[in-house]
């Protein structure tokens, strides 16, 4: 039973529920979930879906993916698009603090049987070579402000130019590894100081690096295009823009809170602070956000270099091919059909992934016929998924970004002992490299929704379709 009847979504289909507009909502809320999964959504999540629906210029609906949960201002797992030319706003809270947090998948030329005996050594090497946790330290030691400027402007392209990878990697990155429109001048000195020594690091929280085995292939043809075959080995990296992105979000939320009265804007939650996309504050944020997005992409590119070195050192081959790299905390200016018109929209995806259909003009050539790969990391110790975008995908071609938390970190650490979880994972044949037991417990699988159910709902709802299921062999926890 919901705290308020207005938070009781009505079913449109078995996997799609609607919150009818009420109060200041300009559009409905749409939640993609099964009836049973919806029951586990907190009232706070649905309240946030409704709050987002009040944003000026929002079109179609305030969407929540099956993995959605209570966030700050926006729900995590939320998608909202505003009409740029009709006073639509941009909200840093709709991107989140970890700008361009995302996932990258590398495919190794090895089978699970070939790596099995050497797995502990591989995980030790990865653990030693992959900086993680709080504070400073990264794979890529920037020697000057100028190098940081290149990272902010050119993203993964800058990392490749610095020798951290191959130019062919960029063909398998969203936007070629470089988000256009970056304006480093909009990145504060504090953000730069925080970013200078963290390029090529996982950070903490739910970020991780996993060695995985391809357990099941749903679509042979697309899997083959990505280099995935049953029993193949791959490496998944989940991280973002570290302190730099966090500082940019904080800086611009503060600026927008101060500017909102000038534009006559009011929002139900300060974390929804916003400004018209076409305003000095909106454009400043877009420029800074793109710079942070590039930082996040360079970060994952630099970590890929460390992964390749670790594989080379232990297994004699560092030839891991990049399958794809995609951000799931980002706002992009995209054209979409709204009613009978093609409109320029600012699409916020916070814990949601772009899923372009086959044939879309923005797709890298490699994926023109397959659709865009979507990488869906599961919770630690459970499966991850590879999906692709489909024709007619809803929510502005968006889908889920992970399993989605169902329990707070504290609740998880009270329910699970880290040492027991470590033993359970080891018993399941999963090598874990984690700094602390409490941090491990906070990321326990029971704290997350069932990723298999989440991706199945996305497929049934027509948002994306499954390509492969990956199971973890080893985890380096951030």
């Amino acid at each position: 039973m919901r705290a308020h009847p207005l938070l009781e979504p009505v079913p449109e289909t078995a996997d799609r529920f609607r919150l009818d507009p009420s109060g200041a909502m300009r559009v409905p809320g749409i939640v993609f979930a099964s009836e049973s999964l919806l029951a586990s959504f907190e009232d706070e999540t649905l309240t946030q879906v409704a709050n987002v629906a009040t944003l000026p210029g929002i079109v179609e609906a305030s969407y929540a993916m099956p993995d959605a949960h209570w966030g700050y201002g926006f729900p995590i797992g939320g998608v909202a698009a505003t009409d740029v030319e009709r006073n639509g706003v941009i909200s840093p809270g709709g991107v989140g603090f970890d700008i361009s947090c995302g996932v990258r998948l590398l495919v190794a030329p090895l089978t699970t049987d070939e790596i099995r005996g050497r797995l502990p050594a591989v995980m030790d090497a990865l653990s030693a070579m992959v900086p993680r946790g709080l504070g400073r330290g990264g794979v890529w030691h920037l020697s000057s402000e100028r190098e940081l400027e290149a990272v902010l402007r050119d993203g993964a392209v800058a990392a490749v130019h610095a020798g951290l990878g191959d130019a062919s990697d960029l063909e398998s990155c969203e936007d070629g590894g470089r988000m256009a429109g970056a304006d480093p001048a909009q990145v504060s000195e504090r953000a730069r100081q925080r970013g200078l020594a963290q390029v090529g690091s996982l950070g903490a929280g739910n970020h991780f690096l996993e060695v995985q085995s391809v357990e099941h292939v749903f679509d042979e043809e697309i899997a083959a295009e990505l280099g995935l075959q049953v029993s193949g080995v791959c490496v998944m990296i989940h991280c973002g823009s570290r302190g730099l992105g966090h500082q940019i979000c904080s800086d611009h939320v503060r600026t927008m809170l101060g500017a909102m009265p000038r534009y006559g804007l009011a929002v139900p939650d300060p974390q929804l602070a916003c400004a018209p996309v076409r305003s000095p504050e909106g454009e400043a944020y877009l420029g800074a956000m793109a710079a942070a997005a590039n930082y996040g992409r360079a970060n994952r590119q630099a970590l890929s270099a460390a992964v390749r070195r670790a594989f080379e050192q232990v297994l004699g081959t560092g030839n891991l091919q990049l399958a794809y790299d995609v951000s799931h905390n980002i706002a992009k200016l995209e054209h979409h059909a709204v009613g009978d018109e093609r409109r320029l929209l600012c699409v916020h995806r916070k814990g949601a992934t772009l899923a372009l259909p086959p044939g879309h003009e923005d797709l890298p050539a490699r994926f023109a016929t397959t659709g865009q790969p979507v990488l869906v990391p599961g919770s630690m110790g459970t499966a991850s998924h590879v999906m692709v975008g489909v024709e007619g995908g809803g929510a502005f071609s968006s889908t889920c970004h992970g399993a989605g938390r169902s329990m707070s970190r504290h609740a998880a650490s009270r329910r699970v002992r880290g040492s027991e979880l470590r033993r359970d994972l080891a018993a399941a044949g999963i090598e874990v490299r984690a700094e602390s037991d409490r941090g491990l417990a906070e990321e326990a699988p029971l704290a997350y929704k069932d990723v298999d159910e989440v991706v199945a709902i996305c497929e049934r709802a027509g948002l994306a379709r499954r390509v492969a299921r990956l199971r973890p062999l080893g985890v380096v926890k951030g």
């Binding site: 504070g135 100081q193 602390s436």
Partner: protein
């Protein structure tokens, strides 16, 4: 539940956590919130030695002052790799807080 004159606790939030802090004046309340923030990610047992770094907010409303010093602690952690273990703050004119924090290197804390 009887509350102590000052204190803090962490409440669940699915994305992270909620800090609740209280005290007889703004400086005490803010100090408690900062201690809660640090407890959220580090366990520190009687550090052998600390050094002092200044910590202050500008004048402002309660929310503004609190956010300002919380952000300052995270910034200091990221840039200087130190973790505060104790805070010594006083209220200032205009609603701000000012003082210093005792810090230790990240390497001497147990990060959780």
């Amino acid at each position: 539940m009887t509350r102590t004159p000052r204190g803090h606790r962490l409440l669940p939030h699915t994305a992270d956590c909620i800090i609740e802090a209280w005290g007889p004046d703004r400086a005490a309340c803010v100090s408690e919130a900062l201690e809660a923030l640090v407890e959220e990610f580090a366990e520190i047992e009687d550090p052998p030695s600390t050094r002092l770094l200044p910590l202050s907010s500008g004048p402002g409303g309660a929310e503004e002052v609190l956010v300002s010093v919380l952000e300052e602690v995270i910034y200091t952690l990221d840039v200087f790799s130190v973790i505060p273990v104790r805070f010594h703050l006083c209220d200032t004119a205009g609603g701000g807080v000012s003082g210093d924090m005792e810090v230790i290197p990240v390497s001497e804390a147990r990060i959780v």
